[in-house]
């Protein structure tokens, strides 16, 4: 065990190396590129024994991972933004083939205008593809989550690919200390057993993908994907607990609560803002506000039950979304509201869209935003549309 000072990208690369990934296919895009560059170094100097296929597009990168995963080997790719959008067709193909591919998404806006900075909209646009999506808040979590992702994805009750999301620049290009565990412990945590549900074997030839008629079983196969997602909730929790047993850390399982008990307003967010929200809560608590923070770690599967459990404790949940669906709002807020609707004793939900195009979100802004929410609660007010943070 050692502690290294790493960029978020390199933290991911180290985790991929320690997961003994056997096949990597990637296409460069800022701010993800650092991951593959580091992995190429690992392969060159013999620290990682993996086949690396430098393809000519992200569509091909995912296609190549699908091909490799069909042979039963552990695969990895990374992308974001335009690359992820370009890959979209194959993102669907991977999950419906139920392949445990892991992809790091270094969240970035989608243009125009060109903008390479942080936003969650790229991975949020892939939410209906059937991928598990885990959002990370710091470098250590990014590292740990990659390892956990392999365990969850390869679980026979799950067999779904996982996106491990970290914000571009905010996490990818900054450095923080990262505890690197012993290889033996990682090996024991995620031993690799090739999956059996679909595998290329010339002695057992199968065809995959051929047509099904409407009256056949397509509908049921999609139902099975949904069931696997449901099963993944419990698996993510168990994996995170097992991880804690071995490595002594957890990052919340599906959601992470921070001082939510007795809080009148809880700030719900994903990624780096969720880490920062804890500081905002401390500031507010010092000033006498009953504030709490809640981090959404798993966006898919969406942890409805956990969110309701926490929601019951409070009067108001304020959501900060670093993504926007024009004409609706932020994704986390809409999904939270849908999850609470119809249940007894649910709080008011206020929604804020912030940090698009990498616009920085400061501690003061988070604190002030929460104070606005407290005001609404005290005055017995109602939600009044999206709060735009620092709109000029």
């Amino acid at each position: 065990m050692e502690t290294l000072i790493l960029t978020g990208n390199h933290a991911v690369a180290y985790a991929v190396k320690m997961a003994r990934v056997q096949f990597i296919s990637c296409y460069p895009i800022t701010p993800q590129t650092g991951i593959v560059e580091k992995l190429s170094d690992f392969i060159l100097n013999g620290e990682l024994e993996a086949v690396f296929v430098p393809v000519e597009s992200e569509h091909s990168a995912m296609a190549a991972c699908i091909g490799a995963s069909l042979t039963g080997v552990r695969t990895f790719t990374a992308t974001c933004s335009h690359g992820l959008a370009y890959m979209h067709e194959m993102v669907h193909w991977a999950s419906a083939t139920r392949l445990p591919i892991i992809m790091a998404v270094v969240n970035r806006t989608i243009g125009p205008p060109w903008n390479i900075w942080a936003e969650h909209g790229d991975s949020i646009s892939q939410r209906d593809t059937g991928w598990i999506q885990l959002y990370t808040s710091n470098h250590q979590e990014a590292f740990d989550t990659v390892l956990q992702a392999y365990k969850v994805a390869e679980d026979p009750d799950v067999l779904l690919p996982v996106m491990v999301c970290l914000e571009g620049f905010v996490l990818s290009h900054t450095v923080q200390p990262v505890v690197i565990p012993n290889q033996e412990d990682v090996d024991a945590f995620i031993p690799h057993e090739p999956w059996k549900h679909i595998i290329i074997d010339v002695d057992n030839p199968i065809t995959h993908g051929n047509l099904q008629m409407p009256e056949d079983w397509f509908y049921e196969f999609r139902f099975l994907m949904h069931r696997a997602m449901e099963a993944a909730k419990e698996k993510i929790v168990r994996c995170s607990k097992d991880f804690e047993k071995t490595f002594g850390r957890n990052h919340g399982h599906l959601v992470e609560e921070y001082k939510c008990d007795g809080a009148d307003v809880i700030l719900l967010s994903m990624g780096s803002l969720a880490d920062q929200a804890k500081v905002a809560v401390d500031v507010l608590r010092d000033e006498g506000y009953k504030a709490g923070a809640l981090k959404l770690r798993a966006f898919r599967p969406f942890p409805e039950e956990e969110l309701r459990r926490v929601a019951k404790k409070t009067k108001c949940i304020l959501v900060i979304d670093r993504n926007l669906s024009p004409g609706k709002g932020g994704a986390v807020a809409s999904e939270l509201k849908a999850a609470l609707y119809g249940f007894k004793g649910m709080p008011m939900v206020l929604e804020c869209v912030a940090g698009l195009g990498g616009r920085d979100v400061t501690l003061e802004e988070e604190v002030n935003l929460m104070k606005q929410a407290f005001k609404v609660v005290e005055e017995g007010g109602e939600p009044s549309g999206i709060i735009w943070l620092g709109l000029k």
């Binding site: 086949v51 296929v53 699908i66 490799a68 995963s69 080997v73 199968i206 051929n210 079983w217």
Partner: protein, 304 residues
Amino acid sequence: MSAKKVFQEAPEEYVLPGNSACQGCGSTLALRWVLKALGKKTVIVNPASCGCVYVGLYPRTAISVPYIQVAFAAGPAAASGIVGGLEARGEKDVTVICWAGDGGTADIGVSSLSGSAERNTNYIYFCYDNEAYMNTGTQRSGSTPAGAWTTTTPMGKKEGKKDMALIMAAHRIPYVATSCSSYPLDLYDKTKKAKIIKGTRYIHILTPCPPGWRFDTELTVKIGRLAVQSGMWLLYEIENGVFHLSAPSRKILENPEKRVSVRDYIKAQGRFRVVREDEIKRLQETIDEKLEKVAELDGKPLFF
């Protein structure tokens, strides 16, 4: 080699009868012979095309080697992944191939194909060329020849056919060949040759299609033969950059009396009904010129 001899050599069928291909499908005929040449230890990647449909419906398939269907543009990249995965798994004696239509090859998949060839991925790419998007009901592709009716070229295609085999040869891959489903033994021999070469190999097969080309199902083999005998379609190999005409095409060069006029080829198919006589004449001239050039090239390196 004779039909009788290949029967002894390769009696095994890997394309099973009772599939959903049309009557007289040139593509399944070609695949039958490709798989006879490659044998059991073969993995097929098949992007969106008739090939996804003609194998039949879940939970059965007509193909008795692994047959992995992927999205339209994804064939070569998925094949690269399988090649890499098998390498990581330490399996050395499996042949990976991509079986794609002309649209998947010349249009939407060309970037992925080119990338795989530039990386010299160790696989064989087969384009079965029925000269249009047949799976979606006969729309033009980059590989549709000039003059051909398709549903998106109701008055005949204005532009000419993209020459994929030469484009692939320009990637300087070790083996490029053309063939035709009407010459199963030519296809069989070329596939066997390709099988033992390492790196990217490309075989482009003309496969007549009765509904798309508008001819009677019993004429599938005859139409392909006319394509070759008229010089409209040339059979050749480019091995390590050196161009060799194959026997059926050489035959029409050496024995002009064995040549048929392109008119016979055109008139045999409903898809060319909009082609005018003067256009046929011009086409004949182009073919005559092409054959002269090809005669000079035979046995010579193609590139500098």
